[in-house]
Homo-oligomer: 411 residues x 2
């Protein structure tokens, strides 16, 4: 009798296969959606210097304190300071500088009069309202002083976070790079989509599905490969693909060939080479394998072997592989969002197995319903599902209205 | 006085600039996250043929009806049918075929006996339990009959949907391609991150921020460019970038140079060339521009000019550009998820302007709070925000506890 593992035990085995990916400097555009690997402190204050918040005139506030529309104050405009001017002419008493939004405040000035409160002239200007000291000024460091922890390690880098990184001077950011997953489907019955099918053959769908799942998780995958039920061809394909992968392979992910039949190519090829094949107490996806494939470096090639039924393969990916990939990339919450929601119907599940049913959220009633039967070959229901309903192993009947664990999928 | 537009009016102007992108066949792996542009019907039944759901033996159910562990039925094994065998030997009476999961049912057989209910032998087999007719059989078409609408146009293509597309034989799928957005920051004060700053200069951050926002929205953007406040250089850069963009530019997106100052390079360069500059009744992001830039094909180059303050630029992108880009790609819900949530504090907003405040969701209390002040230069608060709080233009005081529109950002 083979080892029977719980879902948590097998999750731990697979998590241990995937250490954090190496930290690499990425350009900001290449880091979108990735996770910051180190704290980013601001080497400069933000804004870097006192500057004008408006288009207008830099003045001494006390010189325009009595300005009114009826009795405007007239000042000669001594300088014109567009944004980007890097010298800083001092404001002499009794003059104004014309200044644009974002331009540096001249020494001696303590307020900005917006152009709307003036006649807007450029040789001399009539100012028709007073300005408080500090008016329309952005102080150096008021967004953040120099040395501030701008973005802590673990931040997911979206547009706003990358904008902040750029604003404090970072051209690149340290992130854990995307893991590269080599995907291999096995089965002599498989035919590439787009070609004619003979009786007894089916289209290879796990490869594209798992590649998409890897990409959605943040990893890298290429056009998937498939091999027939032939041990030598499988091993040769792995060798070839690994040696031609430029940046190395972080994970070999196979589907098919792991159960109890007579032609289990993955098991036959890998069982004697460092991969352990087990039963996990779950449905679908009972037969699973994981380990370090010998012959690929000192530590071996991290390998996860999923069952071949498409529903089993994707459920297993979600349960075991996705969280491990995301943890390796440093995501602070590698799991799918989990809710406890009442069942919209009574569901049955097998004793001693955790069942993952494809579900649909009814947002109106706040309940979940199963879509399709538990059958592990039913792709159409899988494609309609917006969540997984997780039925625990301790009960076989789950009553309508009972709160149950639900994993929300992206849709 | 310039035209003042409402937020909705300007949204409509920008939406009209971006027609649906062309439909292109993408490989499944390249289509992840994109939207199916046409209905996909299944040309085949799924599964394509009756097949075994188990590793075991194909039999005539009535021949094993009396099998028990004490009195097993012994049958000679006439054929071995692995998955992928494309001929279909008929099951002769009084025999069994050894059969693997997914292998085609032989004509004459009407049930599968799982290997667990036999002695598993390959020359002759002892069967020790009866099988119901139809047991462990997957019928052709039970997942979906031929001709079924497998995936309707408008489906967002994730792993499960692409798996289904492959399973019914599609090597490529028709999707609206990603729009390519040319991003240009303007301002003589801008310095590329990573270089030294002089007094009066700031790091260029809008480019990376907007490129990231385009990528997050599903579009394509490259390393952003920036130009000083020089009309000729701006126009020349646009010409060069457009002519070198292999697949063409769908949208020119600029930031800066659109307000009422003396050096408004975007306005100076584009106002006479088909781009209209207006005030929108919102905060931040009042000054906006949009139009078709003349000199680029018969219809002109769709152009959106955002204000230069980083917070204004990103808020404007979210309000105007993101929904237009996503609608052009066919997303059924191009807007951010919108909720009505109670305010966790009283907030003030200017009369006659819709204010977009950066907010944080307090999941415990189910309320939202503003993060940072309304200032349009405060990037650090923007980087901490998980939502926008939308304060309507008809009120200036929004009481704590009042339900308010909230846009949820990805984080």
């Amino acid at each position: 009798m083979r080892d029977v593992r719980t879902v948590s035990q097998h999750r731990a085995v697979i998590a241990a296969l995937l250490p954090p990916t190496p930290v690499r400097e990425h350009t900001l555009v290449d880091a979108v959606g990735l996770v910051l690997a180190k704290d980013l402190r601001s080497p400069i204050p933000l804004p870097p210097f006192d500057n004008s918040a408006m288009d207008g005139y830099a003045v001494r506030a006390r010189e325009v304190a009595n300005a009114t529309p009826e009795h405007p104050i007239r000042l000669p405009v001594a300088e014109d300071i567009p944004a980007g001017r890097t010298d800083t002419p001092t404001l002499r008493p009794g003059t104004a500088h014309r200044i644009m939004t974002g331009a540096p405040m001249p020494p001696g000035a303590d307020a900005i009069v917006p152009v709307e409160h003036t006649d807007g002239r450029i040789v001399d200007v009539r100012i028709n309202r007073p300005a408080e000291p500090g008016a329309h000024l952005r102080r150096a460091g008021e967004d953040m002083p120099a040395g501030t922890l701008a973005l802590p390690a673990g931040t997911i880098l979206g547009a706003a976070q990358l904008g902040l990184a750029a604003a404090i001077g970072y051209a690149t950011v340290p992130v854990r790079r995307r893991p590269y997953v080599l995907i291999l489907s096995t089965g002599s019955e498989l035919v590439k989509p787009g070609r004619p099918l003979r009786h007894g053959q089916i289209y290879e769908s796990n490869g594209a599905m798992l590649a998409a799942a890897v990409i959605e998780a943040g990893g890298r995958a290429e056009q998937p490969r498939s091999v027939p039920d032939d041990v030598d061809e499988l091993l040769e394909t792995v060798r070839l693909q690994v040696s031609s992968a430029e940046a190395g392979v972080d994970l070999l992910l196979t589907s098919g060939g792991v159960s109890a039949g007579a032609y289990e190519v993955v098991k036959d090829a890998l069982a004697s080479r460092g991969v352990e094949f087990v039963k996990v107490a779950m449905q679908p996806g009972g037969p699973q394998g994981a380990g370090r494939l010998a012959g690929f470096g000192a530590a071996g090639l991290p390998t996860v072997t999923l069952p071949g039924n498409p529903v089993s393969a994707l459920v297993s990916f979600e349960v075991f592989v996705r969280p491990a990939l995301r943890a390796a990339m440093g995501y602070p919450h590698p799991d799918r969002p989990v809710r406890r929601l009442p069942l919209g119907e009574t569901l049955r599940s097998p004793a001693g197995k955790r069942q993952f049913r494809r579900g649909i959220l009814d947002t109106a009633s706040g309940t979940v319903r199963a879509v399709g039967s538990p059958g592990s070959h039913l792709l159409s229901a899988l494609a309609r599902a917006s969540c997984f309903i997780v039925l625990d192993e301790d009960n076989t009947e789950h009553q309508a209205g009972e709160e149950t664990e639900v994993w929300l999928l992206d849709r």
